[in-house]
């Protein structure tokens, strides 16, 4: 199974995401923001970083990259898409996911190991976890505060579309401690913390992030 990892100008975490995909058992395929071809991938990851320098708003320019037109079309047809950190911001700007990521409530750039709880383990990217499983993976961002209006929040909560929540003190002011959400269909997932940095205890706080990259294999087999 082929999982595309998109590199935008300013993307940082494409190499770790590529490694995580390969360690998880799939084959990572490099995609470039200017590509008008998804190279027959079965799923796509938008990794973290500062695409287009975060100019205007995080993810605002990346949304209009040629490759994103294809990603938006494919996501609409059910292809699994995972956006991590900046990738999550791009998915929100693309309207594949509701809401927006804004400046951390205390204005500080955070870089820490963060405990999160997987609250929806039925999506294409979270099915390797058990419901309520707590994992610790890195969180590193300046604009990770998930915001949306009350109506959207109720819709997310009522339909089980929150996939992960921060455990303990709210690190960035996100509404309802939201660390990640999914679309109605469960194929598009956005996540603020970084599972791709936690796939090997040698280099990460845990190997508990790997579940996101093995989930996608289960999703394809089903």
């Amino acid at each position: 199974m082929r999982v595309g990892v998109i590199t935008f100008p300013g993307t940082l975490d494409d190499r770790d995401a590529t490694r995580a995909v390969n360690v998880g058992g799939a084959t990572a395929v490099a995609l470039w923001h200017g590509d008008a071809d998804l190279k027959n991938v079965d799923a796509v990851i938008l990794p973290g970083g500062f695409s287009y320098g975060d100019y205007l708003r995080c993810g605002a320019i990346s949304r209009f990259a040629p490759v994103m037109k294809l990603v938006i079309e494919a996501a609409g047809k059910g292809m699994p898409v995972l956006g991590i950190c900046n990738g999550f911001q791009v998915l929100c700007e693309s309207h594949l996911l509701p809401g927006a990521l804004t400046r951390n409530s205390d204005l500080h750039f955070l870089c820490r190991d963060q405990e999160i709880e997987i609250v929806n383990n039925t999506t294409a990217w979270t099915n390797s976890f058990s419901a309520g499983e707590k994992i610790t993976i890195p969180l590193k961002n300046g604009e990770g505060s998930f915001q949306c209006d009350d109506k959207t929040l109720a819709k997310l909560e009522d339909n089980g579309r929150v996939i992960a929540r921060y455990v303990g003190k709210n690190p960035n002011g996100s509404r309802n401690l939201i660390a990640g959400i999914t679309n109605q269909r469960g194929n598009v997932v956005g996540l603020m913390p970084h599972p791709e940095h936690a796939i090997d205890p040698l280099t990460g706080p845990t190997a508990q992030g790997l579940g996101f990259f093995t989930s996608i294999l289960n999703a394809m087999v089903k």
């Binding site: 205007l56 509701p98 804004t102 400046r103 204005l107 505060s145 915001q147």
Partner: protein
Amino acid sequence: MATIVVDVMLKPEILDPQGNAVASALPRLGFTFATSVRQGKRFEIVVDGEPTAAQLAEVEKAAEVLLSNPVIETYSVRVEN
């Protein structure tokens, strides 16, 4: 030449940590006038001659699609000479 100005502000219900930081810095410098501060963005778009209605409509469209994120922000468009 005319300048079309687009102001983009966070919606009132969206938390503005930058505005809050400015609001708390002001009294430290002896400026005690502010009860609240909101920070926004201003775009200055220069066009040849007086902007036509069609150009202004295009700018409105650009403001909605690119310059602002309607999920969290509002915008206003005006002409400055």
